[in-house]
Amino acid sequence: MSLFQITLTIAMAVLSLCLLLTAIRFAIGPTLPDRITAFDLIVANVIGIIAIYTEYSGNEDFLDVAIILSVFGFLGSITFAYYIMRINH
């Protein structure tokens, strides 16, 4: 296992851990915006994981998914914001 491989493994592990920790924030909330923010961070985490995985597998085509995610990951937040605004007004 080369240094690079070890790095990737560590990175993967840490990012996965981040995913879990973020999920905890998601679970405890307390408000909906908190959850949405957590969700945003999860998206960012997933982008990171995909990036690491791309290196891991050496296959660049996975990055395309990351692009898509980076573009539309925030649609969720926007939509929820939209929703909360609509019900409040």
């Binding site: 085509d61 649609l75 926007i78 914001a81 609509r86």
Partner: protein, 181 residues
């Protein structure tokens, strides 16, 4: 949701997203992507637009063309009339008219339903090419040579384009319907 920052950002970003979606459409044959993903990306671009600027604004910006016209005056010859129409419609679209202008206009609306139909038609037509040429339905025909980014041109690509249009139309139809309610 009227927020200036979001609306402005989206207004700037939508063309980028659309370009990106077309890029994804055409590279789909060789890389991840294709008509479906491209179509979804394109339609999500419009969803953003709708969320940021409202259905009406989206329909106005992207799904309708204003045609300007005026009733020909006796002293305006046919050619002059035509030229004026042409100039107005091509060149001076954005020029604000004075209150009592001779110009009036009509809107040509591009309905998402038609977009869907066009998409379906394109997809079917790509398959019919083979049928017309005596081969089974959907037999692929390719143009010789390659084009940058896209690669080879052929009926499967046309099919994918049909898928793209249909998906675009479908999501738009849906979102327009839902958000207007």
């Amino acid at each position: 949701m009227r927020t200036l920052i979001f609306a402005t950002a989206i207004r700037m970003l939508t063309p980028v997203f659309l370009a990106f979606s077309i890029y994804i459409l055409f590279r789909g044959h060789n890389h991840p992507g294709g008509g479906f993903i491209g179509g979804l990306i394109g339609s999500i671009a419009f969803v953003f637009h709708i969320l940021g600027l409202g259905t009406r604004q989206t329909a106005k910006s992207y799904f309708s063309i204003t045609f300007y016209k005026y009733d020909r005056k006796p002293h305006h010859g046919t050619i002059r009339h035509a030229l004026r129409l042409l100039r107005k419609n091509l060149d001076r679209r954005k020029q604000k008219e004075k209150p009592k202008s001779i110009w009036n206009y009509y809107l040509l609306r591009l309905r998402p339903t038609y977009l869907m139909a066009v998409g379906l038609l394109v997809a079917v037509a790509s398959g019919m090419v083979g049928l017309v040429l005596g081969k089974p339905f959907m037999t692929a025909y390719w143009v010789e040579g390659k084009i940058p980014v896209i690669g080879s041109l052929g009926t499967p690509l046309m099919f994918d384009a049909g898928v793209y249009l249909l998906v675009l139309g479908m999501v738009l139809k849906m979102v327009f319907t839902i958000s207007k309610d």
